[in-house]
């Protein structure tokens, strides 16, 4: 009898140890649509406060998803009918230029607007970024210009490249995702722009970006079954598969070729050549 009891206890314990826990469903409460985002700056102008939010702490070189809300300082309400355009400009010692950016669109929440800007370089004391915003609300046009801080990412990893292709065209290539890389198969997304002039950038379609992720710290180990990035007309981005076999520092070697297959930038990684001249970096 004692044995049977003991057997039952062990059996119960072993079942208990493999059973799963269930998640409680917490009741939905109305919450701040920007909960979880960082307010990077609030610009006071025109009797309004223009709030710029990011998922991370500040603006960095590379791809920045930026959320905008415009608050009426009179009653602290947010405008819902705004039409916004923006223009980031880098003021350098001898010249100025802009960078690739999207249009600003309304999100699911009618007080929140969204767009992205790809900063190619960080600002300094002397050379800095300025964001010009034009918006129309209540039938009136407003504009403002504010200096903004753009820093290199804390981990110093390269996630945007500005380069001259073999076709003498200047391109900007930025890593959009994975934002939070994981061991395993990651969806990879990148944006490619052609620099038309100092202020205008246009999306480049139908090129191809070869992908070869490597770990320089592990004898240039590579992972298998990565998928090169190809153009997707819907998202106007380049999408592929990035396989990361472990955590750590990865160099994503890239090779850009145009629609006729001509290589514009980047090289294959070989025994002799440890890395391509075109690459992103990830560390996690």
């Amino acid at each position: 009898m004692r044995i049977i009891k003991l057997a039952a206890i062990v059996l119960i314990l072993s079942i208990g140890s493999i059973s799963c826990s269930s998640d409680d469903d917490t009741p939905q409460i109305e919450k701040d649509p920007m909960d979880g985002f960082n307010l990077v700056t609030g610009i006071n102008a025109n009797g309004h406060t223009v709030e710029l939010y990011s998922e991370i702490d500040g603006f960095i070189t590379g791809y920045n998803e930026i959320y905008i809300r415009i608050k009426d300082n009179v009653d602290n309400s947010y405008f819902t009918d705004a039409e916004i355009t923006w223009m980031p400009v880098m003021h350098m010692m001898g010249m100025s230029h802009s960078c690739p950016r999207s249009a600003v669109t309304l999100t699911d929440d009618d007080t929140v607007f969204k767009g992205f800007i790809i900063f190619q370089m960080a600002g300094t004391e002397e050379e800095y970024w300025e964001l010009a915003l034009d918006y129309r609300t209540g039938g009136q046009d407003y504009s403002l210009t504010e200096r903004i801080a753009v820093k290199t990412p804390i981990d110093q990893k390269q996630q945007v490249v500005s380069f001259m292709g073999n076709d003498d065209v200047r391109y900007v290539l930025a890593l959009v995702g994975p934002q939070e890389p994981e061991v395993g198969v990651n969806d990879m997304q990148a944006l490619l722009y052609r620099m038309e002039n100092m202020m205008d950038f246009s999306v480049v379609a139908d090129y191809k970006i070869g992908l070869d992720p490597r770990m320089p710290g592990m004898g240039n180990h590579s992972s298998p079954n990565n998928k090169d990035l190809t153009y997707d007309a819907n998202s106007t981005s380049y999408n592929g598969k990035l396989n990361l076999s472990m955590t750590g520092y990865w160099k994503l070697n890239l090779k850009l070729s145009n629609s006729t297959g001509e290589v514009l930038k980047g090289e294959d990684v070989t025994e002799e050549r440890e890395a391509s001249s075109l690459f992103f970096e990830l560390e996690f």
């Binding site: 770990m215 004898g219 180990h221 472990m246 750590g248």
Partner: protein, 687 residues
């Protein structure tokens, strides 16, 4: 059970013998002597009822049998005992934790159990075979069964090794104990151990403890083999209690911990290898009327294994590689004798969790550590039923056995599953397999001839490494290995035969077995994959060959030229090829051993020769080369002194007398074996 009862020894002789003993021990020390192979003389016990198995039984504990003369080196490692088997070879990666192979097959093709308990090593690099988590002080015997004959405790291809714990089993011996120590000159190994046992008809409690400490050993030319040191501590207890006259409750517990273990053939050492092995059992003579010998056991074991390279002077990158393996299991068996049938029914199951990880620390210190799961927390649940029948056919007997098992495997860790999906995007998280074994073994006697012959079929599931391993580095062939969850079960069709002639003074046996193994699992290079380990040549992925085949044969002879003097000889040959006729790796060349054993009253002595021919059939794709031939000699001598009711046993010996530098086909990366070694063992038993 075959445990030999305490024999009444002629104590009266003891005083007289002391007079002669000392000079004789001294003499034998001067002559240098004994040998390990003798020490490892396999002892084939015949089942008292029906001899049908080709099982080999290696006696380990002499204490309870008072049988020390059989063991030229009583405190040698379990590995050395196992090596004395005719079918077992030990793969060496250093001086410690050798991996047993049976019929030239490795752990994943074997069922290795301790008292029927399933245990799985926690090291992805096989640095901790199960046999490394027990010590000779825990054990009484090792049962070695070839091929499907070993299916009693689990699915197998090559066979089974079951290590039987040493128990007093309600003998009326009261309190007994022993202290023992041993020393080996080559690696300054010191062994100290002790045991205290109490046994009466209603209760027994056996306890033992042992500690081993060894420095680096030296090979034949006196060359020190760096990183071959080890230390190990082991303690165990066995308990038996009769609840009523016929109902028995048993419990067993083993704690084993090795630290600072060097592996000269590998790139990493082990800072900790710890096992806790526990069980409770219940036995009663009958069950449900006609069933008898009902035995059940619940068991649990947990293993922690930590690899460490911080003591190596130069490594391309430092890494930590801990591994864990926990197993919970049970079995219950009963016998039924009816007419000409002798049935054994056994129901068993286990649940194992295997997890191993690797963290690498980049030389560029500003970079984050690199982390991966090398075993992705694989949960294996296995339930099986085993039925055996020994059928008396009037003049011959037939043993039929079958095992049917269902095995489910589940990858519990998300990161681990995602890692594998890099290779296998469509991979399922869990997989179920049905395993089966059936065998028939026939025994016929025409005195003095015996014929044993059998055929069988069996299969096995891929091991955790074969199914789910992730970039596991094999230093022998210098490749990283990646598991393959899509592997089919490996199958085996086996035929065996043994013909023996037994005369009172002379015995000769010829034995052969043949395995045809469809879907044989082995690593194959995938040239598209990039190695992870720095310096590795490439990556191999496990796959099923169409088939492989393996042929093992041996001839053994025993001649008793005088009542106290015996000559034995053994020669074996093995051949293994794959479906393209290529050699399988780790197949033994022609090997032989021969020796004289002398035993009279309290004195024993032995001279042994062992060796192998050049390894002609090797496979360079697996890192093998043409291992040269070698022959080594060993001698040993022992003497028992009786001091009133106590006894003192002394054994001395020398191994590899001529200090040959050699390695065998099983030596990982050809690390040389130990050169000349003297040993001394003293064991004092009190009653």
């Amino acid at each position: 059970m075959k445990i030999v009862d305490n024999v009444q020894w002629a104590r009266s002789l003891s005083v007289a013998w002391v007079k002669y003993a000392l000079p004789m021990v001294l003499l034998s020390v001067i002559m240098g002597c004994p040998d390990r192979s003798m020490a490892q003389e396999p002892v084939l016990l015949q089942d008292s009822i029906i001899t049908i198995d080709l099982d080999e039984v290696i006696m380990i504990s002499a204490r309870k049998a008072l049988d020390h003369h059989r063991q030229p080196k009583p405190l040698s490692s379990l590995d050395e005992y196992l090596e004395s088997s005719r079918k077992v070879d030990m793969v060496k990666r250093g001086a410690y934790a050798w991996e047993p192979t049976l019929n030239n097959m490795f752990s994943e093709r074997l069922s290795v159990t301790i008292d029927g308990m399933r245990i799985f090593g926690a090291c992805t690099d096989k640095m901790d075979p199960i046999t490394s988590y027990v010590d000779v002080s825990n054990l009484s015997k090792a049962h070695i069964s070839s091929g499907q004959q070993g299916a009693e405790h689990g699915s197998t291809i090559g066979g089974a090794i079951d290590l039987e714990l040493d128990k007093s089993n309600f003998k009326e011996t009261g309190i007994r104990g022993a202290v023992e120590s041993a020393y080996e000159s080559n690696n300054q190994m010191a062994v100290v151990g002790g045991e205290v046992n109490y046994s009466d008809p209603g209760f027994y409690l056996d306890t033992d403890i042992i500690y081993r400490h060894a420095e680096n050993y030296k090979s034949g030319n006196g060359q020190e083999v760096q990183f071959s040191q080890f230390q190990k501590f082991n303690a165990s207890a066995n308990l038996g209690y009769k609840i009523k006259d016929d109902k028995v409750l048993t419990a067993s517990f083993i704690f084993d911990e090795a630290r600072d273990v060097g592996y000269p053939a590998l790139t990493m050492d082990v800072s900790l290898a710890r096992a806790i092995i526990a069980s409770v059992g219940f036995e009663q003579p009958t069950l449900l009327g006609s069933l008898t010998n009902w035995k059940s056991k619940l068991y649990f074991n947990t293993i922690t294994h930590v690899m460490d390279d911080t003591k190596r002077p130069e490594v391309p990158i430092h890494m930590d590689m801990p591994g864990w393996s926990d197993t919970y299991g049970f079995f219950s068996e009963a016998r039924l004798i009816t007419g000409a049938h002798r049935f054994l029914f056994k129901l068993d199951g286990y649940y194992n969790r295997s997890l191993a990880e690797m963290t690498m620390y980049p030389n560029a210190t500003d970079q984050l550590p690199m982390f991966m799961l090398t075993w992705p927390d694989v949960r294996t649940a296995n339930g099986g039923i085993y039925v055996m029948d020994v059928l008396d056919l009037k003049g011959s007997s037939l043993k039929l056995a079958t095992r049917l098992a269902l095995q489910g495997q589940y990858v519990a860790d998300e990161l681990g599953l995602n890692s594998l999906k890099i290779f296998y995007p469509e991979m399922e998280r869990s997989k179920t397999r049905f395993l089966k074994s059936i065998s028939g073994q026939w025994h016929k006697m025409w005195m003095p001839w015996h014929l044993n012959a059998g055929i069988s079929y069996g299969d096995r599931a891929p091991s955790v490494t074969e199914g789910f391993g992730f970039y596991l580095f094999n230093s022998f062939d210098n490749h990283d290995y990646v598991g393959n969850p899509d592997l089919k079960n490996e199958k085996s069709i086996e035929a065996n035969a043994k013909l023996t002639l037994e005369r009172p003074k002379f015995k000769i046996g010829a034995e052969a077995n043949y395995f045809h193994m469809p879907h044989y699992i082995i690593g194959a290079v995938d040239p598209l994959l990039s190695a992870m380990t720095i310096g590795a040549e490439g990556v191999k992925v496990y796959r099923n060959l169409e088939y492989a085949q393996l042929f093992n044969t041996s001839l053994d002879v025993e001649y008793r030229m005088a009542p106290a003097l015996k000559w034995t000889g053994l020669i074996t040959y093995h051949r293994g090829t794959d479906d393209r006729g290529e050699n399988l790796p780790f197949i033994a060349p022609i090997s032989y051993r021969s020796g004289f054993q002398y035993h009279k009253n309290t004195f024993s002595g032995a001279i042994q020769m062992s060796g192998a021919a050049e390894q002609l059939n090797y496979n360079p794709d697996f890192g093998e080369d043409r291992t040269p031939a070698y022959t080594i000699f060993s001698v040993s001598a022992g003497k028992t002194f009786y001091l009133d009711t106590d006894s003192l046993i002394a054994k001395v010996g020398a191994e590899n007398i001529f200090d040959r530098t050699y390695s065998t086909y099983t030596d990982w990366k050809n690390i040389p074996r130990m050169g000349r070694n003297f040993f001394l063992t003293l064991s004092y038993s009190f009653n």
